[in-house]
């Protein structure tokens, strides 16, 4: 079937099998391999992308066909030219990543978290990231990175 998805502002029209997951559509049809796959049960969050600027979705739990006509933001769309997105910068500054496999999903989940709650407390952040697993960092520096991006690092919220 034909699917038309706008990813990071670029329209991709592709002929795919109906069962194609959005995660594989992005990776294999659009060549955007920053979206990762880490499980088969919608548990890990490596595959999170932003749908229509408003929702963080696990792209492994959605068919490409369901994204037909929608806007998708992936990690590749975060930096603006040579300038990193504040969350990217914060993950770097705070050592919020090690192997980097969970990082794209963490970043996109955090974007939506901050969009809906620009002043999150530490526990808001921990709750907001609970759908994203990380095996390397122990989360502490990821939480700090989100705090930095929110401008609340070191501030009592």
């Amino acid at each position: 079937m034909k699917v038309n998805v706008t990813v990071n502002g670029v329209a991709y029209e592709r002929e795919v099998e109906a069962r194609t997951l959005l995660a594989y559509f992005l990776r294999e049809e659009c060549g955007l391999t920053g979206t990762h796959v880490g499980c088969d049960t919608s548990s890990c969050g490596c595959c999170v992308v932003v749908l229509d600027s408003d929702k963080a979705v696990k792209s492994c739990s959605m068919f490409a066909a369901q994204a037909d006509g929608h806007q998708v933001l992936t990690v590749e769309g975060l930096a603006n030219g040579g300038t990193l997105h504040p969350l990217q910068q914060a993950f770097w500054d705070q050592h919020g990543l090690q192997c980097g496999y969970c990082t794209p999903g963490m970043l996109l989940t955090s974007i939506i978290l901050l969009k809906h709650n620009p002043n999150p407390s530490e526990s808001d952040i921990r709750e907001g990231l609970a759908g994203n697993l990380c095996r390397c960092t122990g989360y502490q520096n990821i939480v700090k990175a989100v705090q930095q991006a929110a401008g609340t690092l070191g501030v009592q919220v």
Binding site: T33, E76, Y101, Y139
Partner: protein, 782 residues
């Protein structure tokens, strides 16, 4: 001549990681990101039975599935001489695809190659296998009876794989018999799985020159190349192994798996590139698990708490094949470190390993070959002994520590601990956590019937395998290597035989070179994982990179410096003997104003080298003289809800001594990560099998990994006791938090429950186990 001020040193600097820009922009390059024209996908047919005879395999229907190109079975591989794969430990071999029978649930039975990922899966589902189930052996104690022999292919018709022991058996028995106080406990370290977020996988391709281009999730690419040459008969020069970015490893990406061999065979047979990426379920059910050690621990002591003897007898469950990735002479790894931080006068440790109908493995999961098991056993048993003696577990530890002046300390089980200051590290921990105040609070809480626990672990690690006289994998000595090239403009490249999986080598290796050569680490590129370019090394696991490759880098840099000194002498117009390396530059002895920087020397090495050999590069193969022995003093504080059994980790403090610190940011990150895995093991992670041999934890909804919500906030601290034999004094840190923390968590839980008479609970300490223990105690006391 330049009179630049002294450049800053690079060690101990919290430099932001050089590798991060690509990862935060989605430009990491992992195996599944590789795509090649004409690439096929491989999917494996796996056994639903833990033990069964294969009556027949019918591939005809699978071959009809659109897109399926080929199906191969164990018989095909056997005919090609590729039926079996040697395991890294060298004591056993493993079936690539099942031949005759299957030995564990999810064992690889057939390989299906197809045009797309989905078609390969469809094809695998269409393969018809007729199984006749056989009796299942699901634990090592049943295996011991030899009523069912699992491996008739082996010469010895027994499930017993090996007996290993170290120490003095008779003296230990006598000392135990004569000890006024004795404790004995069976302590089980459950089966768990490293589960890196990126599963294992590969792309195999024979290029136009007939050379195997093999991209693979490997922590040890050179060892893979040699192993593949041995298994497949392809000359080693015709094999190029590349390990690209790895999404975590933790030991899971050390062994060679059947999927890799199948991908290579498929690529050769079909003449097209083949990709194999395992699913999470395949990862958890068939690739390297860890632990599964049943340890009977016995300690003797005097009435006032002096240790007199230690005996540990372990029954190990190795699964269907002995795929433990331990050095040849050490079938039970470094388990001999089980005397821990304590000055035992005599000890004896033994391990008996058995085959069962479970997945093979026994890899080092963030652990230097069975050190986690050993540390957990001794640290848990010390608390049980303290309870028996009714003395503070901190006092018991303090009383028996190897003292600072005893280093280098020869342990009774054969190691020579390089350095440490256990007392000091513990003091830092006690001070930072406010132990006295916590004890006071605990007394008050206990009076109110509230359950609060404080648990310690003062562990000693052994890492950095290892000296060639003792350590090898498949006969290859466990050295590591580095090659450094400095370019004319003063930047450079360092290549090593290790492979980062997130540890940050691209930054820390550059810092070592920067420190040794006075160059800017921002301009030292680090390359690993490509067997065509990197010097031969044994890879990254068991916290061996910094102790071994880190040392090789420092030594290679010093060779570069010696070469540079000659050029510097020419530039400074003095004899070589008059040049000294001081404040990160070469200067004429006693005349600091006359100096040249390494950057200037580098340029001269290519433009004005006089009679010296042009160029500026060196390599070093480092054979470590000893292991390194990082240590730490950890403490956990927990509160337990009496009604629900819920354990809340209120605080956790890890004070580590990993010797010289290269990058505190990276070290702290490693500690956070390791503590989180230790926490996971203590409370959540277990690969369970039922009595019929069915794996009960086959994905992330059943194999529980902590999220940001349950993971505690970590507090850290440090003491620094450099390793005396390492060129920069570093010891390695990645696995310490995972080795040291499980006992602290469990000790805290048991301490909380001790007023109820609870003495031990096996990990993972789930809420229902705690709830049951509390209810049981209530029944006994009412």
């Amino acid at each position: 001549m330049s009179t630049e001020p002294k450049s800053a040193g690079c060690l101990g600097v919290a430099m932001k990681r050089k590798e991060d820009p690509r990862f935060i922009q989605g430009k990491g390059h992992y195996v599944d990101d590789i795509s090649m024209p004409g690439m096929l996908f491989l999917s494996l047919v796996r056994s639903p039975y833990p033990h069964a005879e294969i009556k027949s395999i019918d591939i005809s229907e699978a071959m009809q599935v659109p897109g399926v190109k080929a199906v191969i079975t164990g018989k095909d591989l056997e005919a090609a001489g590729l039926g079996w794969l040697p395991t890294f430990h060298g004591l056993d071999k493993q079936m690539v695809l099942a031949i005759g029978k299957v030995l564990f649930q999810y064992q690889e039975v057939a390989a299906v190659f197809a045009e797309t990922r989905a078609a390969a899966v469809d094809g695998a589902e269409a393969v018809q296998v007729d199984y006749a189930p056989l009796p299942v052996v699901a634990d090592p104690f049943t295996a011991k009876t030899d009523e069912v022999i699992l491996r008739p292919d082996r010469e010895n018709k027994t499930n017993h794989i090996y007996h290993w022991e170290v120490g003095d058996k008779d003296k230990t028995a006598t000392a135990l018999a004569n000890s006024p106080k004795r404790i004995k406990e069976r302590i089980w370290f459950q089966r768990c799985h490293p589960a890196p977020l990126e599963p294992c996988g590969c792309v195999a391709h024979f290029d136009s020159m007939g050379r195997l281009q093999f991209y693979v999730t490997s922590q040890a690419p050179h060892v893979y190349r040699t192993a593949l040459a041995i298994v497949t008969g392809i000359p080693e020069d015709k094999i190029h192994v590349v390990s690209p970015d790895l999404g975590g490893g933790f030991g899971n990406k050390v062994p060679v798996y059947p999927g890799y061999v199948c991908a290579i065979v498929g690529a050769l047979k079909i003449g097209r590139p083949v990709k194999w990426i395992e699913t999470r379920t395949e990862n958890l059910t068939s690739t390297g698990f860890a632990r599964d050690y049943h340890m009977d621990v016995e300690i003797g002591a005097t009435a006032d708490g002096r240790l007199t003897a230690l005996h540990v007898a372990t029954t190990a469950d190795h699964g269907a094949f002995d795929a433990a990735a331990d050095p040849t002479k050490y079938p039970a790894g470094m388990f001999g470190v089980v005397t821990g931080s304590y000055d035992f006068p005599v000890a004896h440790a033994e391990v008996d390993a058995y085959f069962t109908n479970k997945a093979p493995g026994g890899i080092a999961y963030r652990c230097s070959f069975r050190v986690t098991e050993a540390s957990y056993a001794i640290e848990r048993a010390m608390d049980i002994l303290a309870d028996e003696l009714a003395i503070d577990p901190v006092e018991l530890r303090r009383k028996n520590f190897v003292r600072k002046e005893q280093f280098p300390y020869p342990s009774v089980l054969g190691f020579t601990y390089d350095s440490g200051d256990y007392q000091k590290t513990l003091d830092v921990t006690l001070e930072k956590i406010g132990y006295q105040a916590l004890l006071k609070e605990q007394v008050e809480k206990r009076a109110r019937g509230e359950l609060m626990g404080i648990g310690f672990s003062t562990f000693t690690e052994v890492v950095g395998a290892g000296p060639s006289k003792h350590f090898d994998i498949l006969g290859i000595k466990m050295f590591d290597s580095a090659e450094i090239r400095i370019h004319p403009t003063g930047s450079g490249i360092v290549r090593t035989g290790t492979k980062s999986q997130g540890q940050g080598h691209e930054t820390t290796w550059a810092q070592i070179v920067g420190e040794e050569l006075g160059l800017d680490p921002q301009n030292i590129m680090v390359e690993e994982g490509d067997t065509d370019t990197a010097p031969y090394g044994l890879g990254t696991y068991a916290s061996r990179s910094t102790p071994v490759a880190g040392a090789a880098i420092a030594m290679a840099a010093r060779r570069v410096r010696e070469k540079a000194r000659k050029v510097a002498a020419h530039m400074l117009e003095v004899g070589e003997a008059d040049v000294e390396w001081k404040d990160y530059k070469f200067q004429v002895k006693g005349v600091p104003a006359k100096s040249v920087t390494m950057k200037e020397v580098a340029f001269a090495a290519y433009t004005n080298m006089a009679q010296n050999e042009p160029g500026l590069e060196a390599s070093y193969y480092y054979d470590p003289p000893n292991m390194t022995f990082p240590s730490g003093a950890y403490v956990a504080v927990v509160d337990i809800d009496r009604e629900t059994g819920e354990v809340k980790v209120r605080r956790f403090l890890a004070v580590d001594d990993c010797g010289t610190i290269i990058n505190p940011l990276v070290v702290e990150g490693q500690i956070h990560g390791g503590l989180t895995e230790g926490f996971a093991i203590a409370f959540m992670q277990e690969i369970q099998y039922d009595k019929e041999g069915n794996n009960l934890n086959t994905n992330f909804t059943d194999y529980l990994i902590p999220t940001s919500l349950e993971t505690p906030a970590w507090e850290t601290g440090k003491t620094v006791t450099p390793s005396p034999h390492h060129p920069i004094g570093a010891k390695g840190v990645g696995e310490s938090p995972n080795v040291g923390s499980p006992a602290a968590f469990v000790n805290a839980v048991i301490d909380a429950l001790s007023p109820l008479g609870v003495r031990h609970i096996d990990m993972p300490i789930t809420r229902d186990k705690v709830w049951r223990a509390i209810r049981q105690a209530e029944v006994l006391t009412t």
